[in-house]
């Protein structure tokens, strides 16, 4: 029985028929999706912090409004993704608890600090740029609710990326101090952005299964290569140097070659040793705990109103 269900399931995937919440699915598929979608949701929520860090200090009102709207978009993405995850039979409270206890991960990039205004532009250009590379293929993911959520997310992300690029373009046309701020920021964010695609294909054990399930459509290294090729051209427009001495065009491959990634740093940040890991989780936990009395008040009030109504009806 189980076998024939599994065969039917795989047949649907192979025929590009979307899997919906009420359809039968293998437990491992469900678990993989919960892990991936919740990680994605957590990344949106934690990602609000490094960018939110500059809302009150944005250099003018136009930038302030754009940044605040952007960070609000991230909250919205978190909301759809938590909802998509809930269709797999897990509650938002449980997911948040996993984030707060360190059981669930989020994108390591958000464990780096935003220390200058240029970092807001660089996050838009490189971090959102890398995220888009990863996320556009997810619009065709085999799980319906995730794929549909990603369509909306990707539209907004590409807007954010253009916005980030435009911040940097303004700096590149500015004073010497502004150009230095831009170069320094790109120097700090380039390698962490490259790491956003995850380990090399040879070291990525879950990838093959995710590809077979059409959760994942391209390998980590394929996506990373596309990202490098895109950024090199854009860096020219910004007149910045990407901090990789090995970066050069390879005629034979038709791609840019790039230097080795410091995987030691990557795994350390994943394990919790990045510059901001502790801070980020502490901030999230703090917001949640300080909000407990508000959530309790809202439910107590709703209950009182409901029982008042019930009395009126009786």
């Amino acid at each position: 029985m189980e076998n024939s269900m599994a065969d039917k399931f795989q047949q649907k995937i192979d025929d590009d028929i979307r899997i919906e919440p009420r359809d039968w699915m293998p437990e491992a598929y469900r678990k993989t999706l919960i892990r991936q979608i919740s990680q994605h949701a957590h990344s949106e929520i934690v990602g609000m912090l490094p960018e939110g860090n500059w809302i009150t200090r944005a250099p003018n009102l136009r930038r302030k409004v754009a940044l605040l709207a952007k960070v609000q978009d991230e909250a919205g993405h978190g909301l759809y993704l938590y909802s998509a995850c809930e269709t797999l039979g897990v509650s938002r409270d449980e997911l948040i608890n996993q984030l707060h206890t360190g059981k669930a991960k989020y994108s390591s990039i958000f464990n780096y600090p935003t220390i200058t205004w240029a970092d807001i532009g660089t996050i838009g250009w490189l971090v959102d740029g890398a995220a888009i590379m990863n996320q556009v293929p997810l619009c065709r993911c085999s799980y319906g609710p995730y794929a549909r959520a990603m369509v909306k997310v990707c539209k907004e992300e590409s807007f954010h990326q253009r916005q980030g690029f435009e911040i940097l373009l303004t700096l590149s046309k500015g004073t010497e101090a502004q150009r230095q701020m831009l170069q320094d920021s790109v120097n700090r964010w380039w390698w962490p952005s490259m790491m956003m695609f995850g380990p090399n294909d040879a070291d990525s054990p879950h990838s093959a299964q995710s590809m077979a399930w059409k959760i994942k459509r391209f390998s980590n290294d394929e996506l990373r290569q596309r990202f490098v090729d895109m950024c090199v051209d854009q860096a020219k427009i910004l007149n910045v140097t990407l901090p990789d001495p090995d970066l050069k065009w390879n005629e034979e491959r038709g791609h840019y070659d790039y230097g080795p990634i410091d995987w030691d740093e990557f795994w350390n940040v994943v394990k919790g040793n990045g510059p901001c890991n502790r801070d980020r989780i502490e901030t999230r936990v703090n917001a949640y705990e300080k909000g407990a009395w508000v959530r309790e008040a809202a439910s107590a009030y709703a209950e009182k109103q409901a029982s008042k109504k019930a009395i009126q009806v009786a």
């Binding site: 809302i55 009150t56 003018n60 605040l68 709207a69 909250a75 205004w117 917001a287 508000v294």
Partner: protein, 252 residues
Amino acid sequence: MAIHCNPLLHQFILQLADNALVLGHRISEWCGHGPVLEQDIALANIALDHIGQARMYYQLAASFEDGATEDSYPYQRDVRGFRNLLLLEMENKDFGYTLTRSFFYDQFHYLLLEAIIQSDHKALKEIASQAIKEVRYHCRYSSDWMKRLGDGTEESHQRVQKAVDAFYMYTGEFFMPSAADEYMAAEFNINIESIKEKWLENIQAVLQESTLAMPQDTWFQKGGKTGVHTEKLGFLLAELQYIQRAYPNMNW
């Protein structure tokens, strides 16, 4: 720099603009730290409304002044130049204080915009007609939360009552006319004193439904409209103006 309108009109516009900016700034501090994701989104939305309104007023003010832009006023004046109400620069503290601050102000803001819409100043009427749609929602949001917190749990009731008691003394200033307010009453029929009664009636009704007590025998603070602020505004501006002060005269 020369101002091409009555300076009192200019000051009145800046009162409106500074109110919107300072409150929007405070509410924006919640972004990423709200008690629940839905409220994080709602607060960011409200902050965006206020800052968007501030921009419209600053642009109008700038249109009357040589060489000024919407950013000149928020980024280049010091504490004594700001004309916002003291209440709006109060710190967020907790969700209860934040919502109480909004509640007192939203109710006033709505009536003020109504008065502006009925007035004889065309440019201000246009902005107010746009803003009032947002402010209608702000009023609903903050009153609903006053009820939830006031009539929620014992703890929430105590917390929000404390906020009401602490902030009420900053509401008297709403209705104490500055020279600019007096000018606008005489010339354009925008009379803030005339909305006081309605405001009191409205907030009493909500407080009562929220099971909260109206503070008695209050001595009201004043000073915002003449630029005599609390100690809190300087820190707010230090943050707001940091880049413009550290890297003056650049495009961003």
